[in-house]
């Protein structure tokens, strides 16, 4: 079997995933903090002020990556959920549910930073325009997934039900993405495009790319940590968990002596 394929299958085994997550989550977090440090420094001190908005546009470097992450994470959650429903892979159920809280946090940050940006720019903390409203609905969908997962006792059935809700909700993502194109929105239109000419000045782009990478790395760290915790909780009675816990207990006892 091809080693990459074998590694992929091994990741589905709870003890193997536990070791993988324990190893790579801290790495992810550290890298994220480093890249974020550069990104935020460049965003605050290096990039020139906007000709129209002055210095208050700099919150873009938190707002836009968070917004993209809020959409990306929901799509990822639906993707994991689809795999979990079709192939019944336990780890994909865990990963899908572990996406929900970070995704909700990114959505909350997007809405909060958007409000803070909106007050000086538009004169209002909030407007019921399509982009803002659909992003708010996305937050409610995230909270619904979390709520449904916590409401059902059997963890596997809970993850499958909440995963189905995520798949149903994924229909909202293109609506959010194209809301500024389909409607006359107060929110700014599409400035940065993947396949075309971006309208943002080149001098302002590097910290944005840095923050995009940093938020993804942070999300990977968060996902691995939460998935590891959920994995341990679910497998709590198993031998490998007991051995690991006893190993930790011995370590604590040694340290206390």
């Amino acid at each position: 079997m091809h080693p990459l394929v074998r590694w992929f299958h091994q990741l589905g085994s709870p003890p193997y995933f536990d070791r993988f997550a324990a190893r790579w989550a801290p790495v992810s977090y550290v890298l994220a903090v480093l890249v974020m440090a550069y990104g935020l420094w460049a965003a605050l001190f290096q990039v020139p002020a906007d000709y129209q908005q002055g210095d208050s546009f700099r919150i873009l470097y938190i707002h836009v990556p968070s917004a993209w992450m809020s959409l990306f994470v929901f799509g990822l959650m639906a993707f994991y959920a689809a795999i979990a429903l079709v192939w019944r892979i336990k780890l994909c159920e865990i990963l899908a549910m572990a996406c929900a809280a970070p995704g909700a946090a990114f959505t909350l940050i997007t809405l909060a930073t958007g409000s803070i940006w909106g007050k000086p720019m538009w004169g209002t903390w909030w407007d019921w325009d399509p982009r803002l409203t659909t992003e708010l609905i996305l937050l409610f969908l995230y909270l619904g997934v979390i709520g449904l997962y916590n409401a059902i006792e059997d963890r596997r059935a809970a993850a499958r039900a909440a995963g189905l809700l995520a798949i149903v909700g994924v229909a909202l993502l293109p609506v959010i993405r194209y809301s500024v194109v389909w409607w006359n929105s107060l929110h700014q239109g599409q400035t940065i495009s993947l396949f075309g000419q971006s309208h943002m000045d080149a001098s302002m782009l590097p910290p944005l790319f840095a923050m995009i990478v940093a938020t993804k790395l942070w999300f990977v760290g968060s996902l691995l940590t939460r998935a590891r915790a959920d994995n341990l909780r679910r497998e709590a009675g198993k031998d490998w968990v007991l051995r690991q816990a006893q190993g930790t207990l011995t370590q604590v006892k040694e340290a206390a002596r």
Binding site: L148, A151, L164
Partner: protein
């Protein structure tokens, strides 16, 4: 086979409904109460009420539908009929579709009939009534179908009341926006065809997809 199953289910639901005729009026009564509360909260002045009459009616219908979602599958889940559905030789999604249709016919259709009367209570401008009825006629089946998915996700849960509302409302928001929006557009004298067509498109899409999603959800909930 599918036609027989559908007729049998419709006959059963009608018979059960007839035995508890009073329950069928409860959504309409709730909508009436919502209208009364809004009217009193807004002060009762005709000029203030007629501007918000159509949106308030939409909300009353939506909330009444939300509360009646509980009865969609609960009776059958409790006495084991839902498991018989899963074992039936007809597709589970077909039975879900028929049940949802009956539910809409017994809870939302009385509301549609009551809308002109409720409109009078809120001084709804007469010219808005046709568009309002059209948007409700397209929107309420859509709400029932989306509600069926959420009800299927929470079937078997004992105290799922507020959770059902929490899960259903994000899905209901686009329907409300286009439904109430179509009346708002018409009130300004513009053509309301666009939002009505979008509602229709959503209805057609969910007629096909919602029963499938609800069937999958029932299977998950009852494994």
């Amino acid at each position: 086979m599918m036609r027989q199953a559908a007729l049998a289910l419709i006959a059963r639901d009608t018979r059960l409904l007839w035995r508890r005729r009073g329950d069928a009026l409860q959504p309409a009564l709730f909508a009436l109460l919502v209208v009364v509360l809004f009217a009193l909260a807004l002060g009762g002045e005709a000029r203030a009420l007629e501007r918000v009459a159509a949106p308030v009616l939409w909300l009353a219908v939506l909330l009444a539908g939300l509360l009646s979602l509980d009865t969609l599958f609960r009776g059958d889940a409790e006495d084991g009929s839902l498991e018989q559905w899963m074992l039936a030789p007809v597709p589970l999604s077909w039975l879900v579709l028929v049940r949802t249709f009956m539910h809409w016919a017994t809870t939302a259709l009385p509301l549609l009939i009551a809308t002109p009367l409720l409109g009078e209570l809120l001084h709804l401008p007469r010219a808005q009534l046709p568009v309002l009825l059209a948007s409700l006629a397209l929107g309420t089946p859509l709400l029932s179908l989306l509600g069926a998915v959420v009800a299927a996700l929470t079937v078997g849960m004992r105290r799922s009341g507020i959770l059902v509302a929490l899960l259903a409302l994000p899905l209901y928001v686009p329907v409300l926006v286009f439904g109430a929006g179509s009346v708002a557009v018409a009130a300004q004298g513009l053509d309301a065809t666009a939002p009505l067509l979008l509602l229709g498109a959503g209805l057609v899409l969910s007629l096909v997809l919602a029963p499938l999603a609800a069937a999958a959800a029932i299977r998950i909930a009852l494994t």
